[in-house]
Point group: C2
Chain length 348, copies 2
């Protein structure tokens, strides 16, 4: 192919369908750039390991609501000496009080914002992203995720538990001290509903889990593989909404995150460290979110679901097309993103 034709072909946008949700995205490489083009200069401030004013730093335990869980070597609750510490969110999106009844407001339905909103303070150190921590520290964080899922899964009034992480200002962080959040609510999230329906439909037509099928297919092609361990596969999403959108998929079919065994949990800590480190190296410590997608807590036909983690770097801005159509324009081909990530090391 002559150079010009190859360039043109490179620029031909492509519509791709998410295998699970059946949502279309546009891959428009013509607007796409190399990873260095996404690096925002001068955004990463140098931070100290301890900040006296930070409510999440050791010694400031009284500045948060009382802890609901902690992994600690010693010390009493709400004193220093902890490895990971969980507290209710002071500005909770959902609260423990409130009724479980739906009420009518004119034509509309509403109900109390009943549920839980917790902050998982991931480390005593103020200034580290998750991947920069020691492996044992990340293992403690994963252990903590597991414990908190279990604590909320059992409650009959709650329909789902979502564990997520906001890193950086573009990703909605207001406090820099490393932390994740958990929100457990009484309604089924639309995103999960669409995934469950997609998984059920795939099972009905093709007799197997769509995520298991995806794992086989991605391993076969290798094009979108970022890294692989004994228990996990990390791939860029074929129809990713965000540039460098990366999914971490457990190889063993399991519908719920807390179905993980100990070996898998330890492996997950390694995978998070590796994949988030690659993203940080490749894109210059970008803002990002991740969320753990796990089956709902209540009884549902969820044989066809498969828990996983979705990571969204926040290096572009959504516009009116995305907000108005729910079709996302992704300016980096996932195959290119995977290649960049495979070749990437964490920042030194």
């Amino acid at each position: 192919m002559p150079e010009r034709a190859r360039r043109e072909a490179d620029f031909q946008p492509e519509l791709r369908k998410n295998l699970v949700t059946r949502e279309w995205v546009i891959i428009a490489k013509g607007r796409g750039r190399r990873p260095a083009d996404f690096v925002r200069e001068g955004e990463s401030e140098v931070m100290r390991v301890h900040d006296d004013k930070c409510p999440f730093c050791p010694g400031n335990e009284a500045k948060t609501p009382p802890e609901v869980f902690a992994i600690r070597d010693g010390g009493r609750p709400n004193s220093s000496g902890w490895t990971v510490r969980v507290v209710p969110n002071k500005f909770a999106a959902l609260r423990a009080s409130g009724s479980d009844q739906v009420r009518r407001v004119g034509l509309h339905s509403a109900r109390d914002g009943f549920g839980a909103h917790e902050v998982i303070i991931e480390s005593p150190d103020h200034n580290k992203d998750l991947w920069e921590m020691e492996l044992t520290q990340i293992e403690a964080v994963v252990e903590c995720y597991w414990q908190r899922y279990l604590a909320y899964e059992a409650r009959e009034t709650l329909q789902h538990v979502l564990l997520f992480r906001n890193q950086g200002r573009q990703a909605g962080t207001s406090l820099v001290h490393p932390h994740s959040q958990l929100i457990a609510g009484p309604v089924m999230p639309h995103q999960l509903q669409v995934e469950l329906q997609g998984g059920a439909a795939y099972w009905e037509y093709l007799g197997r889990c769509v995520y298991c099928a995806l794992i086989d297919d991605e391993k076969r092609s290798g094009e979108r593989v970022v890294m692989e361990t004994e228990h996990f596969l990390a791939v860029t999403a074929f129809a990713g909404k965000y540039p460098f959108e990366t999914w971490i998929l457990p190889k063993r079919h399991a519908i719920r995150f807390p179905a993980m065994n100990e070996a898998e949990a330890e492996d997950l800590a390694r995978v998070l460290k590796d994949v988030l480190g690659r993203l940080a190296g490749c894109l210059g410590r970008p803002s990002y979110n991740f969320a753990i997608h796990s089956a709902p807590t209540a009884e549902h036909n969820v044989r066809a679901y498969h828990w996983h983690i979705e990571i969204f770097p926040r290096i572009t801005t959504l516009g009116g097309f995305e907000l108005g159509s729910d079709i996302y324009i992704n300016v980096v081909a996932p195959e290119d993103a995977a290649r960049y990530l495979r070749e990437s090391d964490p920042p030194s």
Copy 2:
């Protein structure tokens, strides 16, 4: 109620269901603030009425692809003298070339990014937001929207036309010269599909258009009404995803935007000027998007649809919870937002 109890009640978050899409949002006023808290200082640069380097300014017509439509008093195509000018987007998300076939990529489906992506240059003036223009200029913009919808609706290979506007950096604008965009594509957007399904289900159960029912209900309560004219009602959305999310609803039931008659089109120009001016005054010229939601171009059972415009101010940042669950946390109660907007004037 004692002051403290009232404050606590104010802070109780509420889950609300979108009447059309059945998606839940969280209204968490506890995190909410007054409009002044959302104003970003020092963001609005003073701009000249003409910028020699801007490809959308008169005299620079050669810097864009050749125009496909214009409203002009005189002059040849691609010269100055125009009122509104439409050109293909140089960095198009979808292109006129390409096949209409779906192809398999492993387990996945993909197809050429076939369609159209146009820029509607709204004014020769470089430095005005839409609401700042003369009413006759906004009428020309609406006329242009109407013409371009009609041009693409007729094409059999296309499934939808979306007209949208990005204002300000937080809303994804790269060029400041006032413009809207149109993307026409060969697939049904997920957002529209969900709205069509919601509309159809409501009609099936309750025998009427859900948007017509909404208009009656909002007029009856008045709580969320921003303004009303002969042909339109502007309300904050009961289950809005974004703070100050505002919908402009045509009172006459019509499934397609181009079904508008001349009197309605002139009225719409007035409504856009008024509503966008109120948002600018209330929130200090915020970034915002709007999109026109209109029935798909191809044959569908769309009796139950009702075109409308949704406006999203971009004054908060989405986090991992929104991205992972599709449940949005809105920090301003829509009733408060409507009251602020009713009391608001455009910036002087």
